[in-house]
Symmetry: C2
Subunit: 158 residues, 2 copies
């Protein structure tokens, strides 16, 4: 395989930036994600790829639920903060204004919108696991355009 071509082609993929939150009792976390896409209209479902070595994957596995916060244009700093590894900043959410959504997972006060999700399946994908989830709740918190990877200038968030 042409490694340089592979790298270039994969960097041409277009992404938004999201914060995925999960909670199991007092153990809660949030991480910035860009490997995320809707996958079904009826019922509404989405997929998110989560690193196997992450803290949040154990929360999602245990509870089968998570919330996707859609970041808004201008929130690059927020995406960067929540993109730090849990091992380095285990209390990331303490630095960000948030409140529990109906399912208990954190909704960021400044998110553009959020979607509450229930996992229906998962499948291994190399260094990560892809979770397939049904959208079971949603809220819109503000107006505006979404934050994109292009705006943030990130190569990969998580």
């Amino acid at each position: 395989m042409d490694e340089a071509a592979k790298k270039t082609a994969l960097r041409m993929f277009t992404y938004g930036l999201y914060v995925v939150t999960a909670r199991d009792g007092d153990d809660e976390n949030g991480f910035t994600a860009n490997w995320l896409t809707q996958v079904s209209f009826e019922p509404p479902m989405l997929a998110v790829s989560v690193e196997n070595q992450s803290h949040s994957i154990s929360l999602i596995r245990r509870t089968g639920i998570f919330t996707v916060n859609v970041l808004a244009s201008g929130q690059r700093e927020l995406a960067g903060l929540l993109g730090k590894r849990w091992e380095k900043v285990p209390d990331k959410l303490a630095w960000v204004a948030h409140h529990p959504g109906p399912n208990g997972c954190a909704v960021l006060d400044d998110a553009r919108a959020y979607l509450e999700c229930e996992v229906t399946g998962s499948i291994p994908a190399g260094d990560s696991t892809v979770f397939i989830a049904r959208v079971v709740g949603a809220g819109v918190l503000r107006e505006g355009e979404p934050l994109t990877m292009a705006e943030a200038g990130f190569r990969h968030a998580g």
Copy 2:
């Protein structure tokens, strides 16, 4: 669930536009996709959601391979043409300059880049199926920015 909020939140997701091609002997097809994301760095893997009622899903199931063509900025018309349903335009690829890549699936002459993929698994997702695939080949055909859904003004491509 707040249906209006769900719709608004899902429309805030950010996507690129890609043409996924598949081939089984003389039976070949291509379709415009936006529900597509990288899902692993090592090995490099991606996921694409394919409608259960599509013609291409049977090709991908039979052969276990496909190619992702990354469209370039300015190629809205190409994305629209290849987004038409196979039942209406069964010879879509005949309208577009293309050549077979190393794996036999079509590479669009005007694509920004392409990635050859081998399916490693699939998982049901409502009206679609998510295919997880390993990137096994790649090529870069031209310079430029990728085509985004925002540029095209589409709400959903496939």
